[in-house]
């Protein structure tokens, strides 16, 4: 099992495309030994290098060179191509989530989404599939994937219905935001080199009825399942976490904090902007009202009222961008931070299990030989599991990092662009007004020309 993983990562390394969707430092990808780590000079996750940890000391100043990494750049950029409206264009699969519809049964009311898949993948029988899925179905898929790949980083699902925001479950905006997040979820899965090959993923996209599949599956009470649900039944925690994962934990914590802050700030900006818009909408018409009182001044006063109205509309649009593009992205990455921490916990748990069994092995007095042999086998198995989990996490961490960078960069760039656009449009509005006011210079009256 382990070697197959290594081989796959090796392969990825060798064929990793260099384009980063924009800017990329000079190619530094290479494979070092049997363990494939992104070797990026200066970025290298070099375990011997204590410098790594300096980054997270409280005294780290911005000025000092940022040492390590976290996360290193993506190695699977080949899977990420440009994004368009409907979904992500990958090499071979294209998924959209749309057409939210209300379904009413005797017991409950819920929303159902249409999931449309177009693919050229050989392992799919057809090239197009259309299925109906509800939120619960997505939850099921995620659960299955977590079971099978406990230390892979799976993009978060939108949250369940949350009371505090006073958001009605069937409120249009809520549904739309959720729809987009669900689409992103599936697109991210499709991009993932391992998860996209998962049988449950295929089932989810292709089978009309999921109920049958939902009943199948491994014993939920298996240890892996328990780990997935975050319940650690083993008495002891992990003894010593390798430094690289320690560093990941710290990164996840800090990153989570930053995302939470950015999310909050963005929400605050939205709120302030809405209030600004409200006041603006009261202010503009006052000029028009004054215009009605005047004669000579009617035209310029109406002009100003018109400008304010147009600027108000531009402000609304800019607001939409914040709420529909930037905010959801930040929010998703806030959820990602939690995913990172969960994944690290699971890895710890796997290691703890191994350590527990290993302790049992080393401490047990040689009783029955048969037991010892079984124990040794179990320990070996668990050890391999730890190796696999670590490798998977390591690799996926780097992939996730690249994806995160691209997503956040794109959102921020789009936001900045939108703002530039906003100011340019408002500029044009006022310049047009100014042009309309160009009149020939008026004659000065003798001695009665007041200065302002």
């Amino acid at each position: 099992m382990g070697s197959r993983w290594e081989a796959e990562w090796k392969h990825s390394c060798a064929t990793a495309a260099l384009g980063r969707g924009g800017v990329s430092p000079a190619d530094r990808g290479s494979c070092v030994g049997t363990r494939c780590v992104a070797d990026l000079s200066g970025e290298v996750l070099d375990l011997e290098d204590d410098e790594d940890l300096e980054v997270f000391s409280k005294k780290a100043s911005r000025a000092s060179g940022r040492s390590v990494v976290h996360p290193p750049r993506s190695m699977v950029n080949q899977y990420r191509l440009e994004e368009d409206e409907g979904g992500v264009t990958t090499k071979d699969i294209f998924i959209t989530v749309d057409h939210p519809e209300s379904h009413v049964t005797a017991i409950e009311t819920f929303i159902v989404y249409r999931v449309l898949t177009r693919t050229t993948r050989g392992d799919f029988d057809s090239s197009e599939y259309e299925v109906q899925r509800r939120y619960q179905d997505f939850l099921w898929l995620k659960g299955k994937l977590e079971e099978a790949h406990p230390t892979l980083i799976i993009h978060p699902l939108p949250e369940k219905f949350v009371m505090k925001g006073m958001v009605e479950r069937f409120n249009e905006d809520f549904i739309e935001t959720r729809r987009r997040a669900l689409q992103t979820f599936l697109s991210k899965l499709a991009e993932h080199p391992l998860l996209s090959q998962s049988p449950q993923f295929k089932v989810f996209l292709t089978e009309q009825e999921l109920t049958a599949h939902k009943k199948q599956g491994p014993n939920f009470l298996s240890r892996v399942g328990a780990a997935v649900r975050g319940v650690t039944f083993s008495v002891r925690g992990v003894r010593s976490r390798p430094e690289e994962f320690e560093a990941m934990q710290e990164y996840a914590d800090h990153f989570g904090n930053k995302m939470a802050s950015l999310d909050k700030i963005t929400q605050r900006i939205v709120k302030e902007q809405k209030e600004y818009l409200e006041e603006l909408s009261q202010y503009g018409p006052l000029y028009a009202q004054w215009a009605d009182l005047e004669t000579e001044l009617t035209e310029p006063l109406r002009g100003v009222a018109g400008c304010l109205d147009l600027c108000g509309r531009e402000t609304e649009e800019q607001l939409h961008h914040l709420t529909e593009v930037l905010e959801p992205t930040l929010h998703q990455y806030l959820l990602c931070a939690d995913t990172l921490k969960t994944v690290l916990r699971r890895r710890d748990h796997i290691q703890a299990e191994f350590e527990a069994k290993n302790d049992a092995l080393t401490s047990s007095s040689s009783s029955k030989k048969v037991d010892l042999e079984t124990l040794k086998e179990e320990v070996a198995c668990l050890e391999e599991r730890v190796e696999n989990a670590n490798t998977a996490l390591r690799g996926d961490w780097s992939r996730w990092g690249g994806s995160m960078r691209t997503d956040l960069r794109d959102s921020l760039v789009a936001t900045a662009h939108k703002n530039v656009d906003y100011y340019e449009k408002c500029l044009a509005v006022w310049e047009t007004f100014l042009l309309s006011q160009k009149t020939p210079p008026c004659q000065e009256e003798d001695g009665a020309h007041p200065t302002t």
Partner: protein
């Protein structure tokens, strides 16, 4: 003194030719508009200073003084650059000057002073009178006031005004000697009195309505503008938090760090930029405020007309009734029901001597009354004539000034937008480097 008829170009009331009859104030002159004070003298309010002194209650207080500078236009026209004459004035002295002008020229829409206290402030703007920004805006406002009155066709010839500009010490005495203080009080009373005038000049009725509406609109506008400024301030300032968090985040990231950090700096700059933007925008607010206060001055002129007209009507009515009494007395006939009439019918007429005495008294009163009516009518007509000319002048000035103010406003918005474009373009560049 004879009035230069050229000034009365706007007069359409059909009133009789105006004679200038403003009290016996030796300080007033009516001269042609061509030679206003401003054409002879360059006036400015150049500096401000803080002083301390004892006030009326013998308590120490801080106040600001303003340096009023004057230079002869002739010298400037010849290209020379003489040192200005100057003197210091407090805001309260400006108030006295204006009060004097209001009382002395009731037919003129007198320019207002900049506000006494900061009003319509958005929350970060200081409402403190000693705040340097407020003092600076007030300096500009006082300069504007002086420039307006010194270029006014009528006001600019006032001697008290001239002394205000040129005599630091003697001015106060001179202005109080004019006795304007008493008139100021009665003027204020008259402004708020209620009386029914039967036949006011319709143009002034219309103007008064206009002044009320102008006041309403400008004050609403100023209030809304302050609220908008407040909100805009909030939007910009919150972006400063992006700056902070981007910087913190940049520490975590190797690849994105540089881009994030410089983006953060731009966000800080963006948040800081609103302070200057809004401070500059106060100039526009001041322009609107000037016309808010002008509305009051316009209203006062209209009210003065109503008062004059009313007094004329009262005097006329009084004359009519006195004439009626005379007629009744002379002919013994009673045209209207009166107690006198009844008693004379019942008890016979009075003896001739008291009746003659009363008739004689009435004749005197009637002749006085006729004089009074003549005077009042003349007053009224003079006022209507001069006032209407100035109202038209004011209207033209207002149209010009407000249009300019709106253009200035547009320029400010353009400036704000250009800054925004630049800042976000820079930020976008930084993000692209992430």
């Amino acid at each position: 003194m004879a009035e230069d008829r050229r000034d009365r170009s706007g007069c359409t009331s059909g009133s009789e030719p105006i004679e200038d009859d403003l009290d016996d104030n030796e300080n007033t002159t009516m001269v042609g508009s061509a030679s206003t004070l401003s054409s002879r003298l360059e006036v400015s309010v150049a500096e401000t200073e803080k002083r301390s002194g004892k006030n009326a209650m013998n308590m120490q207080e801080m106040f600001t003084v303003y340096l009023v500078e004057t230079r002869p236009m002739e010298a400037l026209a010849e290209g020379r650059n003489p040192a200005p004459d100057s003197l210091w004035r407090r805001y309260s002295e400006f108030e006295v000057l204006r009060s004097y002008l209001l009382v002395t020229y009731p037919a003129i829409v007198v320019s207002p002073l900049p506000e006494k206290r900061a009003e319509f402030v958005w929350h970060k703007l200081s409402a403190d009178n000693m705040d340097p920004d407020f003092v600076e805006r007030r300096r500009v406002g006082l300069e504007n006031f002086l420039q307006r009155v010194t270029s006014h066709p009528v006001l600019s010839h006032d001697n008290i005004l001239y002394q205000f500009l040129t005599e630091e010490q003697g001015w106060k005495e001179a202005v109080y000697e004019t006795g304007f203080q008493d008139k100021a009080d009665s003027r204020l009373r008259a402004l708020s009195a209620t009386f029914r005038v039967r036949n006011p000049d319709k143009r002034f009725v219309e103007m008064k309505r206009y002044s009320d509406e102008l006041q309403t609109h400008t004050s609403q506008l100023l209030r809304a503008r302050a609220r908008v400024a407040d909100r805009l301030y909030g939007v910009y300032k919150v972006h400063g938090n992006y700056g902070r968090v981007f910087s913190e985040w940049s520490v975590l990231e190797k690849q994105m760090g540089d881009g994030l950090q410089s983006a953060g700096h731009h966000m800080d700059a963006y948040a800081a930029s609103i302070d200057d933007i809004l401070e500059e925008a106060e100039h526009y607010g001041d322009q609107l405020k000037e016309y808010l206060f002008y509305a009051e001055a316009l209203r006062a002129v209209c009210r003065k007309h109503e008062l004059s007209q009313y007094e004329l009507e009262v005097a006329s009515q009084d004359l009519v009734s006195k004439k009626q009494q005379r007629e009744e007395l002379a002919t013994g006939s009673v045209r209207t029901f009166s107690l006198k009439g009844m008693t004379s019918k019942l008890f016979g007429q009075e003896a001739p001597e008291p009746r003659e005495a009363r008739l004689h008294l009435l004749e005197e009163q009637i002749s006085e009354g006729e004089e009074a009516v003549k005077e009042r009518r003349a007053e009224c007509q003079v006022h209507v004539g001069s006032a209407w000319v100035d109202v038209l002048r004011f209207r033209q000035q207002k149209d010009r000034d407000i249009r300019e103010a709106l253009i200035g406003y547009a320029l400010m918005q353009i400036n704000l937008c250009k800054k925004g474009v630049q800042m976000w373009s820079n930020t976008k560049e930084c993000f692209l480097k992430m």
